[in-house]
């Protein structure tokens, strides 16, 4: 019924009965499709989702942004707290050079304009895990602005097309992380751990250029890969090194943007997609029922897949922004244009940072395609899995086999084994060298391709044995003796007289070949067998 009324609003001039019917049908179909790609299609064909992300990336540095205490995950509580982190009166912030370089490098990698002068501000609010009562951030003039995150995801009907999209990045700013609060409901107390207080964060604010959960997930994945390649952030969402909040609203294209809600408490990329899609759906349904979307913060509950309103935000907060008086403006320089008399240890040179930029994921994907002649979607998979591209390149260098043959093994055999046991590439039971060995044996004709697959699985179970040993032990070597093959083929042909009557049929031939391979446990040389069978069947 809701769909029908929407239909009425959308298409006034179309004869009612037809429209209503179509819409209700669509409504029903869409309700049934829960996890397909078509989540990107809107509930009501006219409304679309608008998604913007706010990403907080913990800077990968030895010490914190404004103090010398160490940054480390899971240290004993309150063991990494300096006087400044605890906000003892009289202490002052001192900027960490490494954090500045990390922010500049990230800005350059994301095609941002680096502000050669940026400023620090105080953002005031009260919370127990922030002893100072304010957070030092960069609200007026951040370190980098106007960037572009280019990401790709696999789309198309077979999900094998690499589709490239981009999101505008509004700004990147340096700011402090807060401590952690652990709420002990049982004893009605909250415990504060300040280890994380003061750790450097890069806040990346993105424009609302996305329309659904899948796009957001792909974008965050790409961002993760970029940050990991740069080394500026380890990007682990479950450890809180990368935190993503989504701003979600819905509207009809052409009309002004709708009221947005902020979705928090997302700790994996998969949950991100789910949370956003659910929120978009919730808002659309709400609007269709004549409701109003509230500008609120909602938490994502991963058990139910729903977003629930978070307890109060007390209306709009006044953060009383003011310039941080204890930090002078942050000035960056370019080589050759540094004023005389400056201590070199106090100078960050933007061009030097640029020269240190490593190969970014996008560039790597293209290079892999060009250098090895593999398909774009395979290149996408290689870069997407941590360490897989390195594995692939190692195998290619160590084996005589062509890259195009190697890629199949890496992307199919290796990856499926890893996924089955939920292992990472660096935990692979078959090392790159071992696979290279196997492929060499395949190339030189010691084993057939079918047998090789069996060998691979055996290697997986017994990694300490080499490929050669397994071939020997299990007698998987290529059977290429013409006489033996002739006998076996003869036998197979004789036992399948009905097929033989149909001459030159490829399907029949393949079936017979399958039988031969079964007989020989996959060891027969397929080329010879095919020739022999063809001869036998055509006569």
């Amino acid at each position: 019924m809701a769909a029908a009324s929407a239909g009425f609003i959308c298409n006034v001039n179309v004869p009612k009965p037809v429209v209503i019917k179509l819409f209700s049908l669509n409504h029903v179909i869409k309700r049934r499709l829960s996890t397909s790609v078509t989540r990107c299609q809107s509930h009501c064909p006219q409304m679309v989702g608008v998604v913007g992300l706010e990403v907080h990336a913990q800077i990968n540095s030895t010490s914190k942004l404004f103090s010398g205490s160490q940054v480390s995950f899971s240290s004993p509580p309150n063991s990494r707290v300096s006087y400044f982190d605890a906000s003892l009166p009289g202490t002052l912030p001192v900027l960490n050079r490494r954090c500045v370089e990390a922010a500049v490098m990230t800005g350059l990698a994301l095609n941002c304009t680096i502000n050669m002068k940026s400023l620090f501000d105080r953002k005031h609010y009260f919370y127990a895990d922030m002893p100072a009562g304010y957070q030092i951030t960069q609200q007026r003039l951040p370190i980098a602005v106007s960037g572009l995150l280019i990401y790709s995801h696999l789309g198309g009907p077979k999900r094998n097309q690499v589709i490239s999209k981009s999101i505008r990045i509004k700004q990147i700013q340096l700011e402090q992380d807060s401590g952690k609060s652990l709420h002990d409901e049982h004893q009605s107390q909250t415990l504060i751990d300040l280890n994380r207080a003061g750790v450097g964060l890069m806040e990346l604010v993105m424009e609302p250029d996305m329309s659904c959960g899948e796009e957001a997930a792909a974008a965050v994945r790409e961002l993760q890969l970029i940050l990991q390649a740069l080394g500026t952030c380890q990007g682990n969402m479950s450890e809180g090194q990368l935190r993503v909040d989504a701003n979600v609203s819905v509207h009809r294209p052409g009309e002004p943007l709708g009221v947005r809600t902020e979705v928090k408490n997302i700790n994996s990329i998969r949950h991100l997609a789910r949370a956003i899609d659910h929120e978009i759906q919730r808002q659309m349904e709400l609007l269709e029922q004549g409701g109003v979307v509230q500008n609120e913060t909602r938490a994502f509950d991963q058990k139910t897949g729903l977003t629930i309103p978070m307890r109060d935000k007390e209306g709009l907060q006044d953060y009383r922004f003011m310039p941080e008086p204890n930090l002078p403006p942050l000035l960056l320089y370019v080589s050759g244009r540094v004023p005389a008399g400056l201590d070199p240890s106090q100078v960050v040179l933007v061009d030097r940072v640029k020269a240190l930029l490593p190969e970014l994921p996008g560039v790597r994907r293209e290079r892999l395609v060009e250098e090895y002649g593999i398909l774009p979607e395979h290149s996408y998979t290689l870069v997407n899995e941590d360490g897989l591209a390195d594995y692939f390149e190692t195998v290619v260098k160590a084996t005589k086999a062509e890259p195009r043959k190697v890629i199949g093994w890496v992307v199919k055999e290796l990856l499926s084994n890893l996924n089955q046991q939920n292992l990472k590439v660096n935990q692979s039971l078959v090392a790159a060298r071992a696979l290279a060995e196997l492929l060499d044996l395949l190339e030189t004709g010691h084993v057939s391709s079918t047998a090789a697959k069996v060998v691979f699985q055996e290697l997986w179970k017994n990694p300490e044995k080499g490929a050669e040993k397994i071939i020997q032990e299990q007698n998987l070597g290529l059977m290429s003796d013409a006489a033996t093959l002739q006998i076996i083929c003869q036998k197979v042909v004789e036992s399948h007289p009905e097929e033989v009557d149909i001459p030159k049929n490829v399907i029949v031939l393949n079936k017979l070949m399958g039988q031969v391979q079964k007989e020989t446990k996959g060891r027969a040389d397929p080329v010879q067998v095919r020739a022999i069978l063809q001869e036998l069947t055509s006569s």
Partner: protein, 315 residues
């Protein structure tokens, strides 16, 4: 008398004419005698005597070998510090109940520099709460009385001051009163909008507000971060110059400090009156509006009258 100037007493200490412990004891005695001024919030008797003893021992040990080098010109010289400077192990209250019982785990940079010289810390002086004030009247530990109060109230016994007393000025009133009452040779105050100069003037001592950024604020509990500076109170201008030179310098723990040139002039103690020029503001309506015209102009006339007339061409 060697009692007035750190430089003189420093010489006396170096030459062994007076020991660091004797000096410290005398100053602590003086503090007790002038307790009614309420210039001190905490007096660190034990700590001061320990420090003095250490300086004395070192002087003795090395003195026998004629190889003793004072740590610095202030070696063994007693000093006090306004209670908004963090002092390690010594209660720092900012004259407020909010920080009563707070003992910082570190020294303010300027305090550390004085301690590194071998100077002896006598105690923490009283101030307006969190340095918010210009009279030292708003402290949680009671107001500071001006040592010159009797000049205003009219000759009463110097050991007692009843309800009739003059303010010391603020917010570094305790520091100024301590220096003016001879209980220490120098004191650190802080200045945001006159908080060192004001009590310096009211207590008749030399008060120096250094340029922002020349001295480190690390450990100075802030009032206005972009205006606060540590202030220096002494009895002679040359002493203030010496202390400034010791305390100045960029501090990596304070990002608002800047390098500054060394003082390349030596100020003498003896003043040749025939060579000075005195400047007096000509705008007397300002004094009139403040209602102090009679007192100020008569004081000016009195002073000017006592000096050679060629010093005042404007008259």
């Amino acid at each position: 008398r060697s009692g007035r100037s750190p430089r003189r007493v420093s010489k006396a200490l170096r030459e062994g004419r007076v020991s660091a412990t004797d000096l410290c004891r005398k100053c602590l005695q003086r503090i007790r005698e002038t307790h009614y001024l309420n210039a001190y919030i905490s007096v660190t008797e034990e700590l001061a005597m320990q420090q003095a003893e250490r300086r004395r021992k070192l002087r003795l040990l090395r003195g026998y070998t004629f190889m003793w080098e004072p740590r610095g010109i202030l070696d063994g010289v007693p000093f006090s510090v306004k209670d908004n400077f963090c002092t390690q192990g010594v209660e720092t209250t900012c004259a407020s109940l909010m920080l009563k019982g707070y003992t910082p785990p570190f020294n303010a940079t300027v305090v550390q520099k004085l301690l590194d010289q071998g100077a002896v810390l006598l105690g923490k002086t009283n101030l307006d709460e969190f340095a918010m004030g210009s009279g030292s009247t708003d402290s949680s530990f009671g107001p500071v009385r001006n040592p010159w109060s009797e000049a205003v109230t009219g000759g009463r016994s110097s050991t007692e001051l009843g309800s009739d007393w003059a303010i010391a000025g603020g917010s570094s009133g305790g520091s100024a009163a301590a220096v003016a009452s001879l209980s220490c040779y120098l004191s650190l105050g802080s200045d945001t909008g006159g908080s060192t100069r004001n009590p310096g003037a009211l207590c008749g001592v030399v008060a120096l507000k250094p340029t922002y950024g020349v001295l480190s604020r690390h450990g100075l509990i802030p009032l206005v971060n972009s205006m606060d500076v540590p202030g220096i109170l002494t009895r002679r201008v040359c002493d203030a110059a010496i202390v400034l030179d010791i305390l100045r310098g960029p501090d990596e723990r304070d990002s608002t400090t800047v390098p500054s040139p060394a003082l390349d002039c030596a100020l003498t103690e003896e003043l040749d009156l025939t060579r000075i020029t005195v400047g007096i503001p000509q705008v007397t309506d300002w004094f009139q509006d403040a209602g102090q015209e009679v007192v100020v102009s008569s004081a000016l006339a009195g002073t000017a009258g006592g000096l050679p007339s060629d010093l005042f061409p404007w008259r």
